[in-house]
Symmetry: C2
DNA sequence: TCAATGCGTAAGCGTATCCTTACGCATTGA
DNA sequence: TCAATGCGTAAGGATACGCTTACGCATTGA
């Protein structure tokens, strides 16, 4: 997850991912969508995205078609960001309750290991 | 949002945020929780978190109490990550439909500007 | 077989990031 | 008033990052 966060912090790489969300593209096509920097620079960004599994290259002749892989993004939400979402929005909290009620607990790990420390302090961490 | 992503990419800063999710803490107390680096280093990390609004300092005598502010994290989900969540999980998509049906459109902007480009290609961007 | 195309990578440079040590300022209690 | 405490910041150095230019390799079509 650490590398994934570092990967998506760069705005150029987020732009590439946004492009691939529309459709798979060749490396050259991606580079044409980012004209303000050289093609090798884009290739290096693609290498970073590859290294964390966010894109998957597939050779087709002398072309290389890149496809988006969203899966590595999920831990960012599941293991980190979602716990803060409860603080910025009551709506998501309601959502969670609705889902849990309608699903009836189907082993999704992120329950019940909730902060086993006795709530010693104020625990007021609002959304500001 | 760019600065916020850069802020949370550092594992030490995420650790600080995780600490403040439990309860507000003084700068010194935070530093004690991160013993593997010097106190000024922690102070600099706090400065970064301050600069993007993720923590709020409040002087109390010669102590400075830091409180978590989760609000700057919301755009990461709303304006970026949530659009990828649809690719990694059908469950969240179902959730969204449930919410929208039960709320009946209460002006939450993130509807209806959905990709107005005519679905020109394959648009197969799966979760891998 | 040979030039052209598509792509990746190595080398090098400027800059940003993150740490340390040293220092300065405000607040507290004697 | 004066030492002690809590905290922030400046200065400096090591390392990581992002870009460019130059090059190498595989594939294609003449």
């Amino acid at each position: 997850m650490d590398g994934v966060l570092a990967a998506i912090t760069d705005p150029t790489r987020r732009r590439i991912l946004d492009l691939l969300r529309e459709q798979p593209l060749t490396a050259g096509a991606i580079a044409k969508h980012v004209p303000e920097m050289s093609r090798p620079a884009v290739s290096q960004h693609l290498a970073v995205l590859r290294s964390v599994g966010l894109v998957e290259p597939r050779r087709s002749g002398r072309l290389v078609v890149y496809t988006l892989c969203a899966a590595p993004l999920q831990p960012i939400w599941d293991h980190w960001l979602s716990r803060y979402a409860e603080l910025w929005s009551d709506r998501l909290l309601q959502l969670k309750e609705v889902v849990e009620a309608q699903e009836g607990c189907d082993a999704q790990d992120s329950h019940s290991e909730r902060d086993a420390e006795g709530d010693k302090g104020g625990r007021r961490a609002d959304g500001c």
